[in-house]
Structure formats: C-alpha cells, structure tokens
C-alpha cells in the first residue's frame, strides 16, 4: 500500500491561477456568507433574495474568467475544465431559477421567515459545483455532504408543517445512511487501490495484488450512495415522499440541481476510472436503467398527486439518462449534457407551475385541483402543457430533441434492450402526462379552486422565471444548434 498523503501539497501550491480557476466556487461561497451577514444586520426578504441572485449571477459571470485558465487542476481534488464549467453554469442557472421561484412563493406568506432559505440555496449550489469539479473521493464526499446538509434544511424549511418535517427527516436518515455506504465503499476502494484519485484508479486496479472481491464490494457501495442521490431504482424510495412534502420550489431544486450535479459527477467518475470497460458494471447499470424506466413510469400511473407523478417521472428520466450514459464516449457525454439541459429547463418549468399555484403550507398537488385550469388561467395551463409535452418528448419542445439524442446514443452503441425498454416505457409514460393534460382542459371544475389568482408582490418573479423557461424549452426544441455548439465546445475543450 502506498502511503502518499493526499493533502500535503495544498498549502504551498495555491497560486493565483488556482484562484482564478476556483473563482466561481469562491464567489458562490462568498455569496452564502454575505447573505448570512446581511440577514444578521437587517432581516429583509427582498434584500436576501437580491443578494443571492446577484451573487449567483456573479458566479455565473466568473465562469468566463475561469474559462481562461481551463483546464486547470487545483490540488489533486478538483479539476476545473470545460466540463466542470459547463455543469457549474447549468447548476447556477438552475439555482437562479429556484431562487426566483422561492422568492415569489414565500412572498405570499412572509411569516415563515424565508431569508435563511437563500443561504441554504447558495450552500447547496456550492456543494453541487464542487461535485461537478471533483476528481477525487475526498472532494466527491465533501461536495456531496455540503449539498446534502443544505438540502436537509431546505426540504424541511416549513418547520411548522408536519409533511415538510417528515420529508426532511426521511431525507436526512436515508441520505445519511447512503452517505455512509458511499464512505465505506470509498474506504474499501482506497484500501485496495491506495489511491483516491479517479484518474489513477485504472492503473492501480491493474496491479496483480488487487483483490477483485473487495474492489467489487467497494464499487457496489459507492454505487448505492450515488444511486440514492439520483433516485435510481432500487434506491428511489424516498423520492415521492420528499417531493410531496418539500415546498414546491425546493422540490424543483431536488429534482434538477442535485440530480444533475450527481450525474455529471458519475459521468466523470466512470470516464476517468474506466469502470464502463467492465461488462459486469455495464450489466448492473443496464439493470438499474431498465428498472428505473419501468418502475418510474408504471408507478407514476398509480398516483393522483402531481408532485408525486413528477417524482416518478424524474426517476424514469434518470433511467433514460443512464441509457445515454452507457453508450460511452463522446456520444454519451453529448447526449447526457443535452438531455440534462432539456431536463433542467422542463422540470424547473413544471415545478414552477406547481409553485405558482401553491402557497406555503398549501402546495397544490392533487390532480383534481388542476381540473379545468385552462378555462380559468389559460396561460399557466398552456405553460404546464408545454412542460408536460416536453417531458413526454413531443416535438417543438426541448424534451423531443433530448429523447432523440438519448435514443441515438443507445442505438449507436447497439444497446437494443435498453432502447426498446425506453421506447415501451416512454409510451407508458405518455399515459400519465396525458392524464394531467386532460385534467387541465377538462370542462368540469375541480372541487378545490386552486390558488389565489395573485396580483401580489413577487408574482413578477414567477412570470419571468416561467416565461424564460418556456421560451427556452421551445427555442431549444426548434433550434438546438446553439446549445449543441456549446456542448461541442465543452467536449473538445476537455477532450
């Protein structure tokens, strides 16, 4: 066993260039501190939200500064390359959207003291950004925990509400358990390989004295930890409850940013460690993908709560992503990146609609409340329809192009079982998307007339967020070339 101390060099090698590369992370971290201090000085919802948005936008802008030094390895822990920057940008965009949604949502009920929420969002953004730059088990775990701890707070943010607290506790217990699985798995891997850097794993694993059993157990345990965060079957049990219990904008965060960051990490881990070269790993991922697609889509059929339907739908979508991911190589990177962009925009939009209709403490999830929405609030119903069609992968929406590339990736790697599972399950999936759409346009009024038709303060933030997301979903669906070029640059940049 080699005993190279992994942290030895941190102190003396921090150069200016490192700081430039780390600038986005630094700005995000600073944002969380500034927001916290500003709350300590003056408790103002508007101020806290404004500082957060400014900070996140600043971080987004700093990506372009960091790009000048990419690819750059900062300590053995982080690699700031174009892939990391791309996904950080995606995460930041998602966080900004979530912040806007939170602002409008909590503006309706200021009594719940929403200011600290923004601190947590910034911290979660930091964790996610760390994850997508991680090339080392230590930074993986660090990022994961920063993200998770912030999420515990976010999920149970409405602490007077039973469901919210319940969801938070459930998430806490399961996430902590899965994190310990992950930790144990990493320990086993380190024990066998003597390295925690992803890039050195293939070399170390090739050594003759490595015991494959221990390594396999370690790999499985790591997979448990990652699978939990991604809510892949069979680690998906928490998803519907947490989605239902968490405040709607937080659910949007859990569904997009947290999963997207984890998936980007998974992609990098597998890329660098060469795990996909083993047929056993491929088989395991295939089983997980098929199970996620079928379970997600079939269980969604049984739900009557929109938030739960979207929860199961997101399980299925992660299954689709695994199909693209298994194709391997540039095709996989391309398809996954594009699909995540489409998925982010669509899921944020869908939960944005749920958020608009809800008030804190009274999230509108029941399908019956959506009945006849089109005849009362045609614009919102129209937006929701676009999002649902995008989730279903219909043309003129981003989801269509996304699904197209996933099938393309699967077909290019001749993964026929996965491709046909995708085809069958996404046809099943249509059922429940159509069920919601039918309800939206039904002529009978629902028993609960959902939500105040708000001309209150803060509704502009909804209008802007959801408006931008809708335009993005349709624009990407009609003319995806700009996004594709961006991804192309990302891949060639880090190739």
């Amino acid at each position: 066993m080699r005993s190279k101390a992994p942290f030895k060099c941190i102190g003396d090698s921090m150069m200016l260039q490192d700081l430039v590369a780390l600038l986005p992370l630094v700005v995000i971290a600073a944002t969380s501190i500034v927001v916290m201090l500003s709350i300590a000085i003056r408790r103002s919802h508007n101020l806290a939200a404004a500082v957060t948005v400014l900070g996140l936008c600043g971080a987004f802008a700093s990506l372009f500064v960091a790009e000048s030094s990419a690819p750059h390895k900062v300590t053995p822990l982080l690699l700031i390359d174009s892939t990391a920057l791309f996904y950080t940008g995606l995460i930041l965009a998602g966080c900004i959207a979530v912040t806007f949604l939170c602002y409008g949502y909590f503006k309706r009920q200021e009594s719940s003291r929403p200011e600290e929420l923004y601190v947590l969002i910034a911290i979660a953004a930091l964790g996610s950004a760390t994850l997508v730059s991680a090339i080392h088990f230590a930074s993986l775990f660090l990022g994961l925990e920063i993200l998770s701890v912030a999420l515990y707070g976010l999920v149970s943010y409405e602490r007077d509400l039973k469901v919210s607290v319940e969801a938070g506790v459930k998430y806490l217990v399961l996430a902590a358990a899965s994190a310990s699985f992950l930790l144990f798995g990493m320990a086993l891997a380190y024990f066998e390989l003597g390295t925690m850097e992803f890039g050195k794993i293939p070399g170390a694993a090739a050594r003759p004295d490595v015991q494959p059993v221990v390594l396999a157990v370690g790999g499985v345990l790591i997979l448990v930890g990652i699978g939990f965060k991604l809510a892949l079957v069979p680690f998906h049990m928490w998803t519907p409850d947490v989605y239902e219990g968490a405040p709607a904008p937080v659910t949007a965060f859990v569904a997009t940013v947290s999963k997207g960051a984890m998936f980007a990490l998974l992609l990098r881990y597998v890329d660098q460690s060469g795990a996909l070269n083993s047929s056993a790993v491929l088989l395991v991922f295939s089983i997980i993908a098929v199970a996620s697609m079928f379970a997600g889509n079939l269980l969604a059929l049984l739900q009557s709560n929109v938030k739960r339907i979207l929860a199961y739908s997101s399980i299925a979508h992660l299954g689709y992503l695994i199909v693209a991911f298994e194709a391997g190589g540039d095709m996989a990177r391309f398809a996954v990146a594009f699909y995540l962009v489409a998925y982010f925009a669509t899921m944020l939009g869908a939960f944005g609609v749920v958020t608009i209709l809800s008030t804190p403490g009274n999230d509108i999830g029941d399908l019956a409340s959506y009945r006849g929405l089109f005849w009362r609030r045609p614009v919102i119903a129209g937006v929701f329809t676009v999002m649902l069609l995008s989730l279903a992968g219909m043309p003129l929406t981003a989801g269509f192009i996304g699904k197209f590339y996933v099938v393309a990736a699967g077909a290019s790697a001749l993964l026929w079982v996965l491709v046909f599972s995708l085809v069958i399950t996404s046809a099943i999936g249509l059922f429940y998307y159509l069920r919601i759409i039918v309800a939206l346009y039904s002529h009978q009024e629902g028993p609960v007339a959902a939500s105040p038709r708000s001309r209150q303060e803060g509704s502009f933030s909804f209008a802007w967020t959801v408006g931008v997301l809708t335009v993005a979903v349709i624009a990407i669906g009609c003319y995806p070339s700009p996004v594709l070029r961006l991804i192309q640059n990302m891949i060639t940049g880090s190739g």
């Binding site: 043309p395 393309a408 085809v423 046809a427």
Partner: protein, 495 residues
C-alpha cells in the same frame, strides 16, 4: 422557398386565429379559411407552373425544393422537396382542410380560437410529412401532427372522447418511436459504410444494408405506417378516434392522416428497402386483403353511422396497401387514386354525418329513417357518396380500386380475387347506410332543416371533384407518373 411558406402560413395563421378569437370569433374562422385557401391556391399555382414537367415524365429530380441547414452537428437539414406524389396529396390536404373548417363553422362554439389553432397545426404537420426529405424532419412533422389531433378529439369530441384520444395517441406514439429507432439505425449504418452522418433521404437511398438489418429497419418504419394507415391488426384505434372526433377531426383523420401512412410506404419503405419490401410484400398484401374484407364486414354490422364510415376506411385503405406492395405502375396509380378519392368521399360522408348529428343529435342508424322526404338534398348527397364509396363507375373511387385490382392481378391473382369480394361487400354496407338513414317511413317523426347554402357548397365541391376524378383521371395519373418513375429508379438502383 414557397414550400416553407406552405407550412409557415398555416402555423402563423393558427396563432393569429387563437389570439384573435378573444375579440372576434368570426374573424378567427375567416383567417383559418383564408390560410388554407391561400395554401391551396399556392399548390394549384405550383401544379400549373410545373404542368409541363409534370406530364413530360423522365426527369427524376424534384419539381421544387428548398434546403436549409438546421442542426449541422448531426447532419440535419430543413429539406423540403416536392414531386408529383406530394403535389397531389398537398392539394388534397388543403382542399379537405378548407372544407373541414367550413364544415365546423356552426358546430364548434367553445374555445373557437384554440380549435382552429389545432386544426391548422395538424395541417401544417401533415404538409411537413408530405414534403420532408430529411428523415429527422419527417419524424418531427410526423409527431407534430399528434398533439393537436389529440386535443381535437379530447376537447371537442363526443361521448367517449378521452378514451378515444388517449388510445389514438398511444398507438401512434408507440409505433412512431419504433420508427425513430429504425431511422436512427439507418443513420448509423449509413455512417458505418460511408463515414458520413446524414438524414438526407436521397443519400440514405444508397445505403447498402445486409438483408437482415434491412428487414428489421423496414419493420420499424412499417410499424409506424401500418398503425397510421391502419392495416388490419393495428386498426383498433381508428373506429374509436373517428367516431368520437368532431366533424373536422374525422375529416382530417380519414382524409389526410391515414394518407400519411400510405405516403410513407410509397416514399420510404419500398425505395429504401426494396429487397426487404419484396420479401415482406406477401405478408403485407395478405393483411391488406384481410383488412378489405374485415373492414367491410364490420362496417355492415355497425349501428353508429360514424363508426360505419370509419370501418369503411379500414376496407378502402386495404386496397392502398395492396397497390403499394404490388409495386407496378398500374397498381400504384390505383393506390394514389384511391387515396385521393377515399379522402374526398369519406370526408364527405363524415361531413354529412356531422350535419345530421347537428340536426337530430344522434348517430344511431336505428333512430333515423325516412329523412328523404324532409331533407332531400342531404339524403341525395348521402346516396351519392355512399355510391362513390361502393365504387360506382364514373366516380373516382372506382378508378382507384379498379386500377389496384388490375395491377395486383398480374402477380397475385388470388389476392386480387379476395379483394374484389371486398368490392362486393362494400355494396352491402353502403346500401344499408342509405336504406336505414334515408329511406323508409319517417317513423320517428323527424322534421329537420335541409342543407343550408354553406353545406351545399361544401358537398357540391366534393361531389364535383369526385365526378371529375372519375371521368377524367388522366391529369392525376400524369402527375404521379414521373414521381413513380423516380421512385422506381431508386428501387432498381439497389438491385
């Protein structure tokens, strides 16, 4: 450029119609009508303009085309092209489109704007299908037809509209996804042999495929087209969808949507996979022949007038399959002729049924009878189109079916004999329709207004065009002939 305008006019008019409905419903109707008539005029203009080339034959190239780069990263072009076949079907599309808007002038009173948006967008999708020569674009347009059609059935349909709409959507979507997989396989196989990524129809024509992969890929295309057509075992969505749809929906479904399936077979299946198609032809033709008899027998047994007409479609489209897979000029001329005339005659029957339902609020044949005395014009028109449907010489349907039988008899005399039994069976259902609805005593004491001038105009135009096609089919045959020779040369290139 003019080809893109055909689509853009419809899409734009749809949005204008939807927005304008807030202020003036009449304006919405006029805009929609004007858009379809404008497109019709453009097509007629194209026809006249190319009249020389159309009849001259020989030239294998397109009459008109336009090619824009759309998503260069994947070799996707916005490539539209027109030949004689597309020209004829486009003329039918805009003719029936305009008439179906006229036919719903008084039937649709709820959310008129959204209704016309859907109708126009379906027509845009169909136009795209008939024009696209980039397979990605083709699939895009293929899927684009679905959602508005779904809305049309689900929102303005009759009693069991939700069930019918979902069934329609699932059948077509699942089969469409199979086609997507097939398209992508072809795309990648083409890349393997030529090193070039392209969805271009003319490029893909030259792909050399092993017999086995050609068969599988062809089956993927076939699944989509057979469901749309619909071929015998895949037809179960059709009676429901046709019956529950509003009049305009039924006309567009029967007249146009079904033709996209037949068009796909002619344009894609045989030219792209001539070997596999020849191998598969006996199966397809047998299914077509079974469909002819089966549709006729079931039509005879129906009590719902719309359902009866719907089953006749299964029967008539069987002839088209027979003609396509015989693949000789005579049979294909017949198939195209049948497509056009079936569109008009069945469309007219649906319009009459709709007019009748608007007056007596039932479609049950048992509750009709004796209408001739009180509504002679309506009943006379019913008789006329029923006779057209059973293949009365002098009307267009006769030419089509006769040519198909003639063409089929050369190579497959048995199938031709079976199919001609279907022609006989058509007499039974057509005459039963007339007898139950219009003849006999007026035992239910109906007293209804006869056709109004608007309806007379619609019916008159349709009756006139059927007669024209029946007495002077040569212009149509001449228009299709060069297109056939171009397709034929593609087929022979493979041998």
């Amino acid at each position: 450029m003019i080809l893109a305008w055909l689509i853009v006019i419809l899409l734009a008019a749809g949005i204008v119609a939807a927005v304008a409905a807030r202020w003036s419903v009449a304006f919405t109707r006029w805009v929609s009508l004007a858009a379809t008539l404008l497109d019709f005029a453009l097509v007629v203009l194209l026809w006249v303009h190319h009249a020389g080339e159309v009849t001259a034959g020989a030239s294998g190239t397109w009459l008109e085309q336009m090619d824009w780069t759309w998503i260069p990263e994947f070799g996707i072009h916005f490539h539209l092209a027109l030949d004689g076949l597309s020209l004829l079907l486009l003329a039918l599309t805009f003719f029936l489109g305009a008439l179906s808007i006229l036919a719903s002038w008084t039937e649709i009173n709820e959310s008129v704007g959204f209704f016309h948006l859907n109708v126009l967008w379906i027509l845009a999708g169909i136009t795209g299908v008939f024009l696209a020569v980039d397979l990605f674009l083709f699939y895009f347009a293929w899927e684009l037809m679905l959602v508005p059609m779904y809305f049309l059935i689900a929102l303005w349909g009759h009693e069991r509209r939700i069930y019918a709409a979902i069934k329609f959507f699932l059948f077509t979507q699942l089969s469409g996804l199979l086609m997507l997989v097939a398209i992508l396989s072809l795309y990648f196989l083409h890349h393997q042999t030529t090193g070039q990524y392209t969805f271009e129809y003319e490029e893909l024509l030259n792909t050399s495929l092993s017999a086995r992969s050609a068969l599988w890929i062809m089956l993927g295309f076939f699944a989509a087209f057979a469901v749309k057509l619909p071929l015998f075992p895949f037809h179960t969505w059709l009676p429901d969808a046709h019956t529950e749809a509003p009049t305009a929906g039924s006309v567009i479904l029967a007249g146009l949507l079904l033709k996209t399936g037949a068009y796909g077979m002619i344009r894609f299946i045989v030219p792209l996979f001539p070997g596999a198609a020849r191998e598969f032809a006996p199966v397809a033709m047998a299914l077509g022949a079974v469909g002819i008899i089966y549709g006729a027998v079931l039509a005879f047994a129906q009590n719902d007038m719309k359902r009866l007409v719907a089953y006749t479609s299964v029967s008539h489209l069987g002839f088209v399959v027979l003609g396509v897979f015989s693949w000789n000029e005579l049979a294909l001329q017949g198939a195209v002729m049948t497509m056009l005339c079936h569109g008009i005659s069945t469309g007219a029957l649906f319009i009459l049924t709709g007019a009748l339902q608007e007056r007596i609020h039932t479609r049950e044949l048992g509750r009709m009878g004796g209408l001739w005395a009180i509504a002679p014009r309506l009943s006379g028109a019913g008789l006329y189109f029923a006779l057209a449907s059973l293949g009365l010489p002098g009307l267009g349907d006769f030419i089509g079916e006769f040519l198909v039988l003639l063409g089929t008899y050369r190579d497959h005399p048995m199938l031709a004999i079976v199919a001609s039994v279907g022609v006989l069976a058509a007499t039974f259902y057509a005459l039963r329709l007339v007898q139950c609805a219009f003849h006999g005593p007026n035992s239910h004491g109906w007293s209804i207004p006869d056709l109004v001038p608007r309806e007379i105009a619609i019916i008159g135009l349709m009756a006139g065009s059927l007669l024209w096609l029946g007495l002077n089919p040569q212009p149509v045959l001449n228009t299709f002939s060069p297109a056939f020779h171009a397709l034929q040369s593609a087929v022979q290139m493979h041998r």
